[in-house]
């Protein structure tokens, strides 16, 4: 492409022109119309897609960096019920540490999980006090790391069942079902 000397175009070059020439040139508009219809259509499609995929189920969980949830192809929607997290580093109830995983692994029976049992019983009392007219539903969510030993999970759900939480739910990541 050939290199041209500046001038003769729009912008600052206009200052070099005479008054008459400038008047003639300004008759031609320099503004360009931009067709926004396609952009609005595109943005509308994105908004609709994001709204359809919007999910607030993750808000019910206490996300921890040391917990990688196991995946499953089926499952029901998460409800807001008490959450117990189980990882190799520790066991928490509603985000508060209640037991050490290593000591629980080394012990048997209810030993090491007294804190969890007490927290579950307190939560049960609170539920009954707040919702006096309703029956206790006995629901609890266990969010366990996929690589924790089964013994750890077994001991946690046994404590939950002992405290009256018989509807134990395990959190999973929904994966696509293979054909």
């Amino acid at each position: 492409m050939a290199i041209r000397a500046p001038g003769g175009g729009a912008g600052l070059a206009g200052f070099a022109l005479g008054k008459h020439q400038l008047k003639q040139r300004t008759k031609k508009t320099l503004s360009q119309s931009l067709n926004l219809t396609s952009m609005v259509d595109f943005m509308s499609v994105i908004v609709i897609f994001l709204l359809m995929n919007f999910s607030a189920s993750g808000d019910a969980m206490f996300n921890q960096p040391d917990i990688r949830l196991p995946s499953a192809t089926v499952g029901e929607e998460i409800e807001r019920v008490p959450v117990v997290t189980v990882s190799v580093n520790g066991i928490t109830f509603e985000g508060n540490p209640v037991a050490d995983s290593q000591s629980v692994m080394l012990s048997e029976g209810d030993s090491g999980l007294e804190g969890l049992e007490q927290a579950l019983l307190d939560e049960k009392d609170t539920f009954k006090a707040v919702r006096a007219g309703e029956g206790f539903d006995g629901k609890v969510i266990i969010a366990a790391d996929e690589h924790v030993p089964y013994k750890l999970v077994r001991r946690v759900f046994n404590i939950a069942a002992k405290a009256g939480y018989v509807r134990v739910n395990y959190v999973v990541r929904l994966a696509t079902k293979e054909p």
């Binding site: 998460i78 134990v168 999973v172």
Partner: protein, 164 residues
């Protein structure tokens, strides 16, 4: 700006009018930003179990409607409803054969429509993900009442499932 052309009525005054799209684009941009920031890209779900205290007898139910599945480090052991002899699905190439397990459970479900309870157990040392894999298959096949428990006592050497 978006322009709309209406048919002229024959008068001198044009009926064109312009719709200001800038606020609309601003609104859409805000919506997209908000939804992108708050989007949950990993979908979470829950697998429900009906849990009993182990000392109280595990999953409950009658022998006619309950299947027992045990996850060992060598594979799966299945005790079909109403039977005393269990069968085994051994690992294939170091991996649990979930495809075979699904097929066997599907066959049992077809033969025994009353079978709706699954009592799943596993060895203590196994990873929790192996148990979830079995629970996932059970729930997917319509076993509405799944419970977890402890490995039962030794029931003898199981024969291979499916008569193989």
């Amino acid at each position: 700006m978006g322009g709309v052309n209406l048919p002229e009525g024959g008068g001198k005054r044009t009926l064109d009018f312009e719709l200001n799209l800038v606020p609309f684009i601003d609104l859409l941009s805000c919506c997209i930003s908000f939804l992108l920031i708050t989007a949950a890209w990993t979908q979470l779900a829950r697998l429900e179990t009906i849990q009993k205290i182990e000392a109280a007898g595990g999953a409950g139910g009658t022998p006619e409607d309950k299947i027992q599945l045990v996850v060992f480090d060598w594979g799966y052991e299945l005790l079909p409803p109403g039977q005393t002899e269990s069968c085994a699905i051994k690992k294939q190439g170091g991996e649990y054969d979930q495809t075979f397990l699904r097929r066997e459970l599907q066959r049992m479900r077809t033969e025994r429509p009353l079978m709706t309870i699954a009592a799943v157990a596993a060895e203590d040392k196994l990873d929790f993900i192996e148990v979830v894999g079995v629970m996932d298959i059970c729930v997917d096949l319509g076993l509405i009442n799944v419970s977890l428990g402890q490995v039962p006592g030794y029931r003898g050497e199981p024969k291979p499932c499916g008569g193989g």
